[in-house]
């Protein structure tokens, strides 16, 4: 049986790109150190910061919250967890329960934003009534709610659970679809703008499999389920399968890709003509591509009122209890 490279005990996992086997305790240490190093390497959070950690209920965000709690203790920043209940039947109910257990397990502050309760409609209802694909409505609502929460709570950054495999899939998709103007958003962090708080991705250097293994080894509460609306044949899914087979024959190619991509980003390699104009929504005051933002337009159409000010007010009140 393979032995741990650090202590010689029985190994439970192999890290192909590092060419080593690790036992449970040393893998947990390896994962948390890797997240800590990513925070330092990419300047994601610093002493005195408050970071809003988005938690869906899945393994990535469970691993993220746990590793961010550890990193916060080490580096001196605080964290608040945010869960958005999307109202997608049993899937959402299980996610919400998993997140509540996780926050209790880790002793972190948790805010739960219930889309149906605050806006009167769940994501499936919004998708049906607006005749838009559920993933498109879900993405729009989540992005808006997360940003509104960050602005109202006055946090310094929003941490997302995107792992290395997710980011490679997004980067490759941006090349495949030639969506080059948005590629600058795919690094480990985006800057804060007026009306938009910067996003950070502390799992940028860790693989999806490592996040799952970490969540299992730590005994974290998470819901290992796929969203019932997830497209079975998405570009992202096929890119992940292709990259996994590439990694098998070329260990470390994935981590090299995200690191080189980051280097090109910071050296301005993806800047050419890619600047998008940023303005503020005249209704809610948050970031918009121009005119009334898509969230306010969507909610006005669906519930007869602009949802932006409603969401902002909800977080303004909820934030006072923290």
């Amino acid at each position: 049986m393979a032995k741990c490279a650090k202590c010689g005990r029985q190994a439970v996992i192999r890290i192909p790109y590092a060419r080593m086997w690790l036992c449970k305790d040393h893998f947990i240490e390896f994962f948390e150190t890797r997240v800590l190093k990513a925070i330092r390497r990419y300047g994601l959070a610093k002493k005195g910061d408050r970071v809003l950690v988005t938690v869906s209920g899945g393994k990535d965000s469970a691993a993220l919250l746990s590793a961010m709690k550890r990193a916060g203790e080490e580096l001196g920043f605080g964290i608040i967890a945010l869960h958005i209940d999307l109202g997608i039947g049993e899937y959402s109910r299980r996610n919400r329960e998993a997140v509540k257990r996780l926050a209790a397990q880790l002793g972190t502050k948790l805010l739960v934003f219930d889309v149906k309760e605050v806006l009167g409609m769940s994501i499936p209802e919004m998708a049906f009534m607006s005749r838009r694909p559920p993933c498109s409505v879900c993405g729009l609502v989540k992005r808006y709610v997360i940003n509104a929460a960050a602005v109202e709570l006055g946090v310094d950054a929003v941490a997302l659970g995107h792992n290395m495999d997710d980011m490679i899939a997004y980067i490759m998709k941006a090349f495949i679809t030639q969506d080059i103007s948005n590629i600058h958003k795919l690094g480990p962090r985006t800057e804060s703008l007026k009306g938009a708080v910067g996003r950070i991705r502390p799992l940028y250097d860790t693989s999806e499999r490592e996040a799952l293994a970490y969540a299992l080894m730590k005994g974290l509460s998470f819901n290992h389920a796929e969203c019932p609306n997830a497209a079975p044949e998405s570009i992202e899914r096929e890119v992940k399968a292709f990259m996994s087979s590439l990694e098998r024959n070329h260990p470390s190619i994935k981590v090299q890709l995200v690191r080189r991509f980051y280097k090109n980003l910071v050296s301005g390699g993806y800047r050419g003509g890619g600047e998008t104009s940023v303005s503020r929504c005249p209704v809610c005051g948050l970031i918009s591509d121009g005119g009334v933002c898509s969230f306010c337009r969507l909610t006005k159409k669906l519930i007869g009122r602009y949802g932006g000010p409603i969401v902002r007010e909800w977080f303004s009140k909820a934030g006072k209890g923290l």
Binding site: A2, G58, R209
Partner: protein, 73 residues
């Protein structure tokens, strides 16, 4: 001479699929995955609730759960 095969029960998440395969005694997790046509780098396997490596030796009382690496969305 063929030795008697052992039965290994397994569950796969998130599909909530379960099954039984017959393997040679002292078979490893990697043998189980190979029989099922699953690539080891696409899953994390637990036996009796603990994460184990591909070279872990299985027995008939092993409670095997295969977690597929998938995004929740």
């Amino acid at each position: 001479m063929t030795r008697e095969l052992i039965e290994i029960k397994y569950r796969v998440l998130p599909e909530m699929r379960e099954g039984v395969v017959r393997l040679r005694p002292s078979s490893r997790v990697s043998d189980l995955l190979k029989t099922l046509g699953i690539s080891p780098d696409s899953v994390v396997v637990t036996v009796d609730g603990e994460v184990v490596a591909e070279d872990y030796v299985l027995n008939e009382s092993s409670d095997v759960v295969i977690y597929r690496v998938v995004s929740g969305g």
